[in-house]
Symmetry: C2
Subunit: 364 residues, 2 copies
Amino acid sequence: MRQLDEALLEDIVVGSTVLGSGGGGDPYIGKLLARDAIRRFGPVPLYSLEEVPSDARVASIAAFGAPGVLVEKLPRPGDAVAALEALEAHLGYAFTHLAPIEAGGLNSVVPVPVAARRGLPMVDADGMGRAWPTIDLVTPALYGGRATPLALADEHSNVFVLQSANSEWAEKICRAATVASGCITVLALYPMSGREAVERLVDAPLARAARLGSLIRSTRPRAAIAERIVADGGGVLILEGSVTLVERRTERGWTMGSATVCGIGENSGKSLQLLFQNEYLVALRDDGSPPVSTPDLIMTVALETGEPVPAEEIRYGHRVAVIGLPCDRRWRSEEGVRRSGPRRFGYDFEYVPVEQVASASPRD
Amino acid sequence: MRQLDEALLEDIVVGSTVLGSGGGGDPYIGKLLARDAIRRFGPVPLYSLEEVPSDARVASIAAFGAPGVLVEKLPRPGDAVAALEALEAHLGYAFTHLAPIEAGGLNSVVPVPVAARRGLPMVDADGMGRAWPTIDLVTPALYGGRATPLALADEHSNVFVLQSANSEWAEKICRAATVASGCITVLALYPMSGREAVERLVDAPLARAARLGSLIRSTRPRAAIAERIVADGGGVLILEGSVTLVERRTERGWTMGSATVCGIGENSGKSLQLLFQNEYLVALRDDGSPPVSTPDLIMTVALETGEPVPAEEIRYGHRVAVIGLPCDRRWRSEEGVRRSGPRRFGYDFEYVPVEQVASASPRD
């Protein structure tokens, strides 16, 4: 067990933004909300998965909706507590541990204010090892785990507890309710036992984020940060360039769009289009070939500052490194790729692990 | 107490279609579902409001969504039972009586299969005395009554229990979830005590529907039916004519559109546009003046057969009588008109009771 205090929070938020693959929510908002809770209620005990007893009662907490809206409308920690307590009332028991459902500047730490207020510990585990735009796309689903019963709460004090036919329906209904409510809600979902958590969740994403955050904080010169992140995660530096075009819109409860990065320096003349639905899902070269795609992680890192730049933040003129990182191994299984690969999101090509693409096409 | 049996059902379904004001769901579907339940489980005891004990636990059952979709997709009684039982589990008690929430060919009798399956009696009371396109527009709201907690169930076996900030939010969230689910769901809502039901609900809409249904069944010649309905309800025969244009679409979970009726015989040269959102909300003459509008009831009755024709059924070439009937007196209060008058639905004119419009403009 370690304590999730302010110092650790800083690193986790920065590192989680890299793992968020362009989504997972705004890191500044994540930091503000979690830091305020830690200052008021004290640090949150953070257990590793192997420390969680098999009869523990674990729930995930998530901010849900369009990150582009989140920037203007802060989620209220009290709403997440309301969601958790509605789920507890429905299930007839209290949770003993809270976990994030995905990695991201906000979503990695969105359980912190709830845990702090309720005096509960967190588990260093999540359901993706990255972020994705839909709640059904989690490792527990590979083991038959279900999102429901779940509770959704919004800023207007509406709360519902949903029992759904499956997690895909939970996604549809929560998305529709979230759009009606203004595009941001909070969820308490994927209730599971400690035994199930150990088997089903991605291990130690917060420790990984903390290591990445520390690396980003300490690296000099800042321009070397992208290479360091890539080396740390066994990934690939895809392109360094300038952002020349960004199209972005809030649509059906997601932040949708694309960013075009044109190579600079030795990469002059090359370009890359990053397509996002909250998260970066695929990168496409001029010839349409993908150097990296979902389920692998795609991230943009500012060249000058080394700060990770999520998809809702990326702007014309930004100079960024585009990096690709391998996903959790479970997403590379046949079933994992079927659920999370490019075709799942409507892209008509096969998934190839980012390291293999890179080695097959010598860096040109 | 009387028994809601097959014979009574026939009359209730036809008469409720008149009270449904163009909406309230398809009477054929209402009859099929309720008749099947009565044949399998026996007649349903139907109590008048004054027979309901003050400590009774009353819930309303409603089909929710777009009537135009309902015609192709039957609601399943098991879903309504699932909604009722989810609400009971949430509240921690069982209901003793069920009621409709609105009048309509389907919605007046949609509680019948649930009551029959669960062995519960019904109350002859509803929340509107007519039908309206949103669930917040009910007489209990005039007394501070709330739609929530409510349960929504769909044909995919999704069920949620909602606690909302107010009934308007309940409407928005249920509407969004219903659109996501395919435009038809069932609700168990407006839980109240017997004492509250007596104070807040519209009294005896099923008895009124039965009387109207009997009148429609027995009247000869059939062409006299519209006049008889008008005389029974203290209403006004607005126009007899042919339907020359119908525009209809399913939009945001409602059946939206308009029907134009052109006068025939002595009314040749006159026309009337009926605007509907599930229900007929206003009728407009050529000069834009409204001979009848919400909250009063507007209905179309086939001239040849005397059958009521809901808005989702009206077709080019139909010969109909357009009638206006006074609404429940509570809707004519200042607060009632504020909530249910033409401005509530975006029409920029004052409500005038249908009898007053008629007497002010001699039938021309």
